[in-house]
């Protein structure tokens, strides 16, 4: 086993623990299939874990796998590395003060969300959120399976023969 494979297994275990969604992770993303971790995640698992935890707390969808959060957030660590590192360090300080542990290690989502509420007006939080609101929801892979949104239709001749008026209102 090479060093990077070793690192990827370690990191992966970390993520599985942190996100508490091991089963979904294994099924839902390419982690297992060849250890396709982003390079920065390999190098800086704490930053990666913090950013992932934060992304999942900002837009929590329990059924969506980590990779869909990580992929859009990854470039931030190169484009805005200082802001992200400082922001996460600040968040960890606040977490220590309130809960005696790092932000990503706080168990209750409501506790983590309360910490994020306090920094939501800051540039760091809004940068992560602004990146994710496009990166997560503009991903066609998620549209139909998770949201029931079928997206582009013109190649199929629109929805004229594909259910634009198929609703029966039978609940009233």
């Amino acid at each position: 086993m090479s060093h990077s494979q070793e690192a990827s297994r370690v990191s992966r275990r970390r993520f599985l623990t942190l996100s508490g969604q091991g089963a979904l992770l294994v099924g839902g993303m390419a982690l297992g299939a060849g250890g396709l971790w982003p390079r920065w995640a390999l190098a800086e698992p704490d930053l990666a874990a913090g950013l992932l935890r934060m992304g999942r707390d900002i837009y929590p969808h329990d059924a969506i796998a980590d990779s869909y959060y990580l992929t859009p957030l990854e470039p931030l660590l190169e484009s805005d590395r200082a802001m992200i590192a400082d922001g996460l360090a600040d968040l960890d300080r606040r977490a220590h003060d309130a809960h005696g542990r790092r932000y990503a290690e706080i168990e209750q989502e409501t506790d983590r969300a309360a910490l994020l509420r306090k920094i939501e007006d800051g540039e760091f939080f809004q940068t992560v959120r602004g990146t994710l609101v496009v990166g997560l929801y503009d991903n066609p892979e998620l549209w139909e399976p998770y949201f029931g949104y079928e997206g582009a239709s013109w190649r199929q001749g629109g929805y004229l023969h594909r259910g634009f008026d198929d609703l029966e209102i039978d609940w009233l």
């Binding site: 503009d138 997206g151 013109w154 929805y159 634009f164 609940w171 009233l172």
Partner: protein, 526 residues
């Protein structure tokens, strides 16, 4: 073959903008054999540039030059650099518009007479009546292909989204429920195909079923030999002679080179932000406050419609994204009835957003994250949405001004777009929100929520029509009170906003203005 006119050809009408006003005017003039040069700031797009993709189209066609959102409104916080959601491209905002083609109601042309003075509102009657505009509404409806009596085209079949809204609306007693009039073909019309219920109306209609000057008026005007469209041509200044007549338009081409196009007449149709901005930027020693501004009303009375947006989570999947985005209109509240606590009325219009835009717009404030947001998104396919389009009263302080120091890529001062609510607007909005909620409650919604204002697509009023020169910028023909051969040809000439989407009225006014210009030319007056 492409017609080209020389820069020093002073026989041409120069039209600034190629959307609902400018594009319509160019073709209407061309049909009469009148030559025009259309200066369009944006690029030219082809049908295969139109994709069913919200973000891609937003980035591709939107007007994203620097602008500053100002005023006591949420948009100042949520979209500080994007006050308006309009298009920069050949075809202008007719690429993006939703197709709703309601006429203004007769009383809306004389709201001031109907309700009298209202503190804080700069109310004024239009100098034209509904009866005068009515024949042009019919012409506009035939021109654009509006479903209903003028064309004989049937209204759209009701889509799922409207079925839900209508079920609730009927239960609370609403009667005026229609899936039109829409300028979206329900059968082949004017060499364009029928609506395929594709959704994505606001990203441009890939099928060309929705009227747009991009593929209707502009290509025909060009084919006539009487019109040259110059894309990527940003008008910088309108020049005049020492008689105070407009003589030329200076503009920057796509490479930043400046040109001067001489003109017999100048028609400004750059939408309600750029049109007054151009007049203000064209100040001279003769007109130190900007062109056509002796009234001081250029850039003022900016109206956007009093709007709000309500969504309901329904018990079963609705798939609101399927089908024509806005094909469902409820007009019961459009009447004038001050017993409701406000003047003016509003229409309720069904609307949908895709997942990318719904996620972005559901709550764009800093606090718009967390389970409140994601539990709604998890029910995306169960959502139904309605948009409130209400009369927005003119206020003198709402308007477009030039920033003191900030300059755009052409060296022009950046526009500051200031807007606040009149108390009447706020009351109308609250009433509309309440009624929309009642509709969804009656339709069995499990959860109902409000989505804050989007950057505005309905921008009107900043060069308004008036009978008297001291009250407004242009007369009953859209001709500047101060400058004989200068016209305003877009929604900025609106004296009031009405409770209806503006495009049909812009087109009717442009067709009427074309007749007027032709007559005056024939009489050698222009």
């Amino acid at each position: 073959m492409t017609t080209r006119f020389a820069y020093d050809d002073d026989s041409v009408v120069v039209i600034i903008g190629s959307g609902a006003g400018g594009g319509t005017l160019a073709q209407a003039l061309a049909r009469k054999g009148i030559d025009s040069v259309v200066l369009e700031a944006g690029k030219r797009y082809q049908m295969n540039d139109i994709e069913n993709d919200e973000w891609e189209m937003f980035k591709k066609i939107s007007w994203l030059d620097e602008r500053i959102t100002a005023g006591p409104r949420q948009l100042t916080e949520t979209f500080p650099g994007l006050p308006a959601w309009i298009v920069k491209g050949v075809g202008g905002s007719t690429i993006h518009w939703a197709g709703v083609s309601l006429r203004f109601q007769p009383h809306e042309f004389k709201l001031h007479s109907e309700i009298g003075d209202l503190e804080g509102a700069n109310l004024l009657n239009w100098p034209i009546s509904y009866e005068e505009l009515e024949p042009y509404y019919v012409k506009a409806e035939r021109h654009m292909g509006v479903t209903g009596d003028s064309t004989g085209m049937p209204y759209h079949q009701w889509n799922n989204n409207f079925k839900v809204l209508a079920a609730g609306a009927e239960r609370i007693g609403y009667k005026q429920l229609r899936s039109g009039p829409m300028a979206i073909n329900t059968e082949e019309y004017d060499e364009r195909g029928r609506c395929m219920q594709a959704g994505f109306c606001m990203q441009g209609c890939r099928f060309g079923a929705k009227w747009s000057t991009m593929y209707s008026d502009i290509p025909r005007a060009e084919a006539s030999g009487h019109c040259e469209v110059r894309p990527r041509s940003m008008a910088l200044k309108i020049e005049h002679d020492d008689q105070g007549r407009a003589t030329a338009v200076v503009y920057a081409d796509g490479d930043g080179n400046q040109h001067r196009q001489r003109a017999r007449a100048v028609c400004v149709a750059g939408n309600s932000i750029e049109s007054p901005r151009l007049l203000l930027n064209s100040h001279s020693s003769m007109f130190p406050d900007g062109l056509a501004n002796s009234s001081g009303q250029v850039g003022r009375n900016y109206m956007t419609h009093a709007t709000s947006c309500i969504f309901g989570v329904m018990p079963k999947p609705v798939h609101m994204h399927r089908g024509t985005t806005f094909a469902g209109i409820i007009s019961d509240e459009a009447r004038l009835d001050q017993s409701r606590g406000f003047a003016g009325g509003y229409t309720l219009e069904v609307m949908s957003l895709g997942v990318p835009f719904f996620a972005k717009f559901m709550d764009p404030t800093n606090a718009g994250w967390g389970r409140d947001i994601t539990t709604a998104l998890d029910k995306y396919d169960h959502l139904s949405g309605v948009w409130i389009c209400g009369e927005d009263l003119p206020m003198e302080q709402n308007g477009i001004t030039l920033h003191d120091t900030r300059k755009d890529q052409h060296g022009l001062p950046v526009p500051v777009v200031y807007k606040g609510d009149h108390p009447n607007d706020a009351r109308l909005r609250r009433h509309g929100e309440q009624q929309a909620r009642r509709c969804y409650e009656a339709a069995g919604a499990e959860r109902i929520f409000k989505v804050p204002d989007f950057p505005t697509s309905h921008n009107v009023g900043t060069n308004r029509m008036s009978a008297r020169p001291e009250d407004g910028v242009v007369n009953r023909w859209g001709q500047a009170h101060d400058i004989d051969n200068l016209f305003i040809s877009d929604g900025s000439q609106f004296t009031s906003s009405g409770a209806e989407n503006p495009t049909l009225t812009i087109v009717a006014l442009a067709l009427r203005q074309a007749d007027h210009i032709a007559e005056r030319m024939q009489r050698q007056e222009l």
